[in-house]
């Protein structure tokens, strides 16, 4: 990769290979992004949408209005999104890693069960959201029935009605959806570890914990970093799950940047503000993306 442009013919072919990707990116990614950026700097709302002559550039005032004020829902939703993302990834990763270790062993029915675990990831997110909404319902929800049956709680819990538990319930649903993604990538990572490394560590008398922390984890570090950064990006822009389960409520306690941007654009017709908050989401993800690309490049340099 580091040997650049050995001959001009070779680099010419390289450019040819890149052209379709560049065109694709420009049409399907670049154009909407630039349009969105322009929209966020204008004052397009319900009053000016039909009157292009009244659509003026207003600089950063949409961003300023969204970020300022004691009741800034955007700041709250960024905070909520961070909680949602970190809470989800932490558990998704640990459970996914545990399952990956389990399924990298050979046992009867291994591939069958590994396939079954994928169901939560193959299910459309809206369906999963509805399932969890029913499960967490105050009256008649299976989680309350279960906990009451075990005498852990006496009164039904109002899972989706209290700000903190509504956030917890959304995170639980998202963890369930995300586990297979973590598991699959980590299993792929585990298969890259040569068996002889384990053999020699066994000969040297390493116990299970030493094997895990001194061999397995360091050797799949690139896979772990990919899982975490990709997981961050996916979780940060989750929309449908929360929209179905709570619509951002109660009282904005589960409002994410994505649901807020949708609400602004399609419910309140504040198109420019909606675009501005979508750009805020994009900027945060861009930073994570740059980090991810750097990581990939480092990996390739190792090769």
């Amino acid at each position: 990769m580091k040997k650049k442009g050995k001959s001009s013919a070779k680099s010419y072919i390289g450019v040819c290979f890149a052209i379709p990707a560049v065109i694709y990116m420009m049409v399907f990614v670049g154009y909407p992004m630039i349009q969105n950026l322009i929209l966020s700097l204008k004052n397009v709302n319900v009053y000016t949408f039909a009157l292009p002559e009244n659509q003026n550039f207003v600089g950063l005032s949409n961003y300023i209005e969204l970020f300022t004020g004691g009741n800034s829902i955007l700041l709250k939703s960024i905070f909520n999104t961070l909680i949602f993302t970190i809470g989800s990834i932490f558990f998704q990763f640990i459970i996914g890693f545990g399952l990956a270790l389990l399924f990298s062993k050979q046992f009867p029915g291994c591939s069958f069960f590994r396939g079954v675990t994928m169901i939560s990831w193959l299910l459309p997110v809206t369906v999963a959201g509805l399932l969890f909404k029913f499960m967490f319902a105050s009256s008649g929800g299976i989680i309350n029935q279960f906990l009451m049956g075990l005498n852990i709680i006496k009164q039904p819990m109002e899972w989706l009605l209290e700000p903190v538990s509504a956030m917890m319930a959304s995170i639980v649903a998202n963890i369930w959806i995300g586990i297979p993604f973590n598991m699959m990538l980590l299993i792929t990572g585990l298969t890259t570890i040569p068996a002889d490394v384990y053999e020699s560590s066994k000969l040297d008398g390493a116990n299970k914990f030493q094997t895990l922390f001194k061999i397995t984890i360091p050797m799949i570090k690139p896979a772990i970093m990919s899982v975490l950064t990709l997981g961050f990006v996916y979780t940060f822009k989750v929309f449908d799950l929360v929209w179905v389960m709570t619509k951002g409520g109660p009282v904005n306690s589960t409002e994410l940047v994505s649901t807020y941007a949708y609400r602004l654009s399609f419910e309140e017709f504040q198109f420019s503000k909606g675009a501005a908050s979508a750009n805020v989401l994009f900027l945060i993800l861009l930073m994570v993306g740059v980090f991810y690309i750097k990581l990939i490049n480092e990996e390739e340099e190792v090769i």
Binding site: V251, F269, E299
Partner: protein
Amino acid sequence: MKKKSLLTTALAVLMASTMLAGCGGGSGSTGQETSATAAANEDTDNGDAKDTVAAGGKKEVVIWDYFETDAQKEMMETLIRDFNASQDEYVASHVYVPFTDYEKQLTLGIASGELPDLVILDGCSMASFIALGLFGDISDVDIKWDEYLEGPMESTMMDGKHYGIPFATNCTALYYNKDLFDAAGVDYPDENTTWEQFREMAKTLTKDGVYGFGNAATNTDEGTFQCLQWIYTAGGSYTDIVSGADALTLMQEMIAEGSWTKEVVNWTQSDVNNNFIAGNLAMQQNGPWQIAGIEANAPDLSYGVTVLPKFDENSSRATSILGGENMGVVKKDDMNGATAFLQYYDQTEVMVKAMKTYGSFPPKTAAAQDSYWTDDPIQKAFIQQLETSIPRGPSPSWPSYSAAIQQGIQETMTSAKTPQQAAEDTQKAVDAIQ
């Protein structure tokens, strides 16, 4: 080389998940289904922007609606069949678009041009879509404008111009379960019931898993529709929350007492009605469109309906919020087909026939005086309540007002803020809307 394969897998997973996400997002728009009322229009797309000429040289009129119940669908099918039979110039058909996606589809339609000729939509969102440029000015069309009820008519207009006509009108009133009242030895509520008496009733009736009262207070305009009337009845309005702060106090205190169930913050109007049918609620706030469902699912339920409780002895009848749909004519070069349909619906007898099936009231003063409604004690209560009902807004910024008000109500109901604090904060949010 193995690291490469890791990267490949990562990319493959990424691509697959993007596709999945795409499916999830798109499922709403594929939910549209054309209901071919006329045999001739099977070959046409739903909501085609062009004036399609159907077989036999008739011009097409495409109508979008979000009607879901059997009664609503039957009403629409009959109305369209009768219209098609009444003249030979146009062929009407309708397209169902799910309510949750409705306004998004309309907004996207304005941008893409994929629009029908006529749109049936919630009265409170009409002002926004007039401002967004969806509807055309039809003030010159021969329609008996002055026969309509003032509130619904106002919601179809802007700056003195007409963009459509009201289709159906309704409001919410107070349903009560007679058996539960009899068992508790409590007198039924009536038009003289005050908030204080209502609160006592609800308190007495709350026992053995039954809540005294419930309404819809979900985090959408459906919640605002039901909750805003309490603020008006207390003396406030959608721009003056502070004067209606007593309503927030009543909500918080009744929820604390357990007589107004806290679950309402996640309840839609159907949820409220289901709980009323199941006997979990002694009283509910709901609209006339639930009557058909109650009679079908719980024919033995003994219930009554009266106007909503008034503020105190000295105040007049409680205000309710107008609900119902409008028909708006989509702005096009040729709007004749759409206006022909409006003129057809403008006939009082057509309107009355449709509304009997639909479970709402015709938006004309005279039409609502049909004996079908005035002779029925339950329907009569709604007609009475309708007299003191006001529209939401009308304002193109209604969705922003609605979101701000409903946030204040949810903050009150979940005790996140004191009623005074919630009223002041909501007032600030409302004042900030342009």
